[in-house]
Symmetry: C2
Subunit: 204 residues, 2 copies
């Protein structure tokens, strides 16, 4: 079975590939479909955006499509940046700019008040019109200085007590064991194992 | 692990119990929570309604909640009754009234034009705020006269070529092998197997 992954983010794509490794699934990416249309992420939730991206790509290519929408929710910022995580410092912002904005907004906030979570919704859209969605979250807190150079996005500022490290201080394999995306991928993996065994389209 | 099922429909509850049998999960029902609030199914899709019901019940009880929203889409009726399946012949309509309305609207439509599908979205809402959704569909056609007295809803009018029978002519165990709800439950089962093994809340 082929599945196309609806992301232009190389970090996400790498994690998705790793999280689904070993399944009898061939993962394609947008690089294989250069003409695939851009989808505006204008939904009001991670789920709405993930479903919109997956549905659009599945409709365009005719093959099952997987999309991830995810972000950081900081309690001291009333859940911001949330669905605006990727463009927190403006459209086209770099990871460094987004991280700098986050640190600046949290300036002077004490460690115990810097609680936050990463949330990830993965949607899987099927050519027959079905959509499955799964969600993973991980609790942590925002560091006062970045740590580590692995990962992407807000990883250098996100401290996981489970890992006793920031998400940028561990290799991807270790991050996925604890991360929001790793947990969502583990669930999608469960669903895909079912579909690989019993393809819906075959009527079996 | 306990899960509460957000349905007052005894037919649905029976199928959900059967579909999740054998999992290390104790299924509770609304009968165990008589004070649980009614939820208005005013969403514009099966998914929206299922998520709304599951979230509300999970928030009310503090335990994971599973909700099903499902219905019949008839091609000759441009997808009706759809999300209005349970109340097609009006609020509080009986199965017999809904079936009669469907037959009446399809009067004179030839068998090959009576194609239809059942669609089922199951949402699972978790106390940590996550929601997983899975979807199952089954293709079939609408009979000209009801057949069988098993099942519920539109089952006597829904002919499955896979089963070579209406959904009301087979016992629940057989219906679940082919049905929209059976397919959705098989996916939820996969997800739950993951969660039973590795409870999200435990941080493992």
């Amino acid at each position: 079975m082929k599945i196309i992954v609806a992301t232009r983010n190389p970090g996400k794509l790498r994690e998705i590939r790793l999280g689904l490794e070993g399944l009898a699934v061939e993962l394609l990416s947008l690089a294989d479909f250069p003409a695939a249309p851009e989808v505006e992420e204008d939904g009001d939730s991670f789920a709405a955006n993930a479903v919109k991206k997956a549905r659009a790509l599945c409709a365009d290519t005719g093959i099952p499509a997987l999309a991830d929408d995810s972000g950081l929710e900081v309690d001291a910022l009333q859940g911001a940046p949330g669905i605006r995580s990727a463009r927190f410092a403006g459209e086209g912002a770099t990871d460094a700019e987004n991280n700098a904005k986050l640190l600046s907004l949290l300036h002077g906030v004490r460690p115990e008040k810097r609680t936050a979570r990463f949330r990830c919704v993965i949607a899987l859209a099927w050519p027959d019109g079905r959509v499955d969605t799964v969600e993973g979250i991980v609790e942590g807190r925002i560091l006062e200085v970045p740590r580590g150079d692995q990962g992407f996005g807000y990883d250098p500022l996100f401290y996981s007590s489970e890992l006793n490290a920031s998400f940028a201080e561990v290799v991807t394999e270790v991050k996925l064991r604890a991360s929001h995306r790793g947990k969502a991928l583990a669930r999608i993996r469960q669903i895909l194992q079912f579909d690989v065994k019993r393809p819906e389209g075959s009527g079996t």
